[in-house]
Amino acid sequence: MNFRRALGCLTLGFALVAALEPGQALAQEPIKIGTFLSITGPAAFLGDPENKTLELYIEKLNAAGGLIGRKLQLVSYDDAGDAEKARTFAKRLIEQDKVDLIVGGSTTGTTMAVVPLVESAQLPFVSLAGAVVIIEPVKKWVFKTPHTDRMACEKIFIDMQARGASKIALISGAGGFDKSMRAECLTVAKKHQIEVIADETYGAGDTDMTAQLTKIKNTPGVQAVLNAGFGQGPAIVTKNYRQIGMKLPLYQSHGVASKEYIKLAGEAAEGVRLPAAALLVAEALPASDPQKPVVTGYKREYETRFKSEVSTFGGHAYDGLMLAVEAIKRAGSTDKAQVRDALEGLHGYMGTAGVVNMAPSDHMGLDLTAFRMLEVKDGDWVLVR
């Protein structure tokens, strides 16, 4: 009886395991680009455009003949914003699907969970997440494309200084992005002669921030307000801001740099400023701007194919993929160590986020010029000169 039971279990086990086997091997080994993204869940805002961008451009590259004579294949998993799922999928990409390189990790949490895996597997990994902790301290196999939250804080503080504000209020949410950016802003504030005199927080999924904003309103001496947030929170903060009649300058983070934010916040978004990639104002860039061709090209492709507004997060995925492609081209192979070295040696590469200059001590490669200060005017983004 128990032998049959055990046999039944074993069969079930084998069947389950067999279902996980990968498909047929292709004749000429394609270049496998692995990705794990938060396509659903609280970070779907990030992962969905990233996934779409990767699929679109891998398709285009294959149509144009592939890369170093081979086709490209995307292996993609949805971690739904869960770091442990991301870790399991990364293991699957490395061990099971045997990818050549990973471009992924929509959030800092999922990225950091995977870092030890790629370091021990010695596989190049280009992250699409924002926090400075990803590349500081520098890890041999880990690179990233988006600007750091620290850079966003600095850009905002410089603009605040220019407008004469030195005492400000901070309001942030409970998510990883919010907390990380808040911590960075508090750290670099003094360097820019900014003093944070009020510091409020709201919870994930909160639908009303009037309480916190009222406390800020009642704090004497506040000259500007910074909302270090991402997702649903900032839109509601913006609406509440207008509702309780606050007139001080409001700054948002690069986490809400999209048309969606303006649509959600409505009229309340007028006059709000934030640092963002030039991608958002692609058409408004002067013809002489070196970023113009790249950003207008990407914007056109994405919007034509997906019939929805381009987002800076999709732009990060584009940059990640193109950096990987460029590195493979220069290395002439998919040898992991060679590709990594090529990635580290990229100079003057123009992406949607800005010009990239990688170095052994800098695995992000962007500087503050990569960020433009934008303002919402008449329901659209405009460059602040």
Binding site: M1, L20, A83, T88, K91, E95, A113, A131, G176, K179
Partner: protein, 315 residues
């Protein structure tokens, strides 16, 4: 045939041990071992939770809280205070048991849905505290955890963890089976069917309920600690309401009041998301449909339903 699993302990345990010993023949790379380890850890939690839900007839929608406290307890003690991992595991588990004892008495006076919500509230409170105290816990992005070290050597790699988890799962199942067949276990089953009746024959129902609550919390805490060391990090996602629901679903799916059912429930529901990646966009829809379908058609859970089927088809 299958029905016998529920009864004699040794034969079932031997079958499980044989399965654990032979499964590596089917696991061809570290990713498969990884899934197996996760199944094992979930199974340990489910075996404990099954004692509470299946045998004692209570309900807990907040067990991820105990799991998470075990995980964070180990994480904080080893990473921030430099404790040796085994001591941290012991301390974290003891702490969770103490907490379960303190909340258990008032919470278990409630019944049915009120109990469900109270445990849910407890779970939510724990998850918010863990995500907010970021100086200690690393906040929403979590924190890194040093590897587990036993007798001086670090437990590294999926294969080593597989054997460790397999051994611990066998121990957990053995403990649970022993508990069920012991006087306290029989008292629990008595108060499951009628609490007043059990009290009439002299069973202190409050004491027994708290005891099983504490035991199931201990199982969850140990599994949580191990999970933290295995993954190398811990995040508040492990402490959420959704994770609690996943655990309860595993127990119910496998079959309440069946220890082996809990193990099988954990196995199926941990591997299912890996299989569902085939469905891409339809993953959530399929998962929800599977959950509904199995509960509607197999309301007693997988193992008891299959056992009943086996009994009916026997000549």
């Amino acid at each position: 045939m299958l029905a016998h699993l529920a009864a004699p302990r040794t034969r079932g345990l031997l079958a499980l041990a044989a399965f654990i010993a032979l499964l590596p023949l089917a696991l061809s790379n570290a990713y498969y071992y990884d899934v197996a380890v996760l199944v094992g850890l979930n199974a340990i939690v489910c075996v404990g939770l099954n004692l509470l839900i299946g045998y004692a007839g209570q309900i807990s929608l907040g067990h991820a809280g105990f799991f998470g406290l075990g995980a964070y307890g180990s994480a904080v003690l080893t990473a921030r205070f430099g404790w040796p991992p085994v001591a941290a595991l012991g301390a974290a588990t003891a702490g969770v048991m103490a907490l379960a004892f303190m909340i258990g008495r008032p919470i278990l006076r409630l019944k049915g849905h009120y109990l469900a919500v109270a445990t849910l509230g407890m779970g939510v409170i724990i998850s918010i505290v863990v995500a907010t105290e970021d100086r200690l816990t690393g906040g929403p992005d979590g924190m890194a955890v040093p590897p587990l070290a036993l007798f001086g050597t670090a437990v590294q790699g999926e294969r080593a963890w597989y054997w460790l988890t397999g051994a611990l799962l066998l121990a957990a199942v053995w403990l649970a089976l022993n508990l069920v067949d012991s006087p306290p276990g029989r008292a629990l089953r008595a108060l499951h069917s009628t609490e007043v009746g059990a009290e009439v024959v002299g069973i202190d129902s409050a004491r027994h309920k708290v005891m099983v609550f504490v035991v199931s919390a201990a199982f969850a805490a140990v599994a949580g600690s191990l999970n933290a060391h295995y993954a190398g990090f811990v995040t508040p996602a492990k402490v959420t309401f959704l994770h609690s629901i996943e655990l309860v679903t595993m127990v119910v799916f496998g079959g309440m009041a069946s220890t082996f059912g809990a193990v099988i429930g954990a196995a199926v529901l941990t591997t299912l998301p890996q299989l569902l990646t085939l469905f891409k966009d339809y993953e959530m829809v399929v998962f929800g449909a599977v959950m509904m379908g199995t509960m509607v058609f197999l309301p007693r859970g997988l193992v008891p339903s299959l056992a009943a089927l086996a009994r009916r088809t026997r000549p």
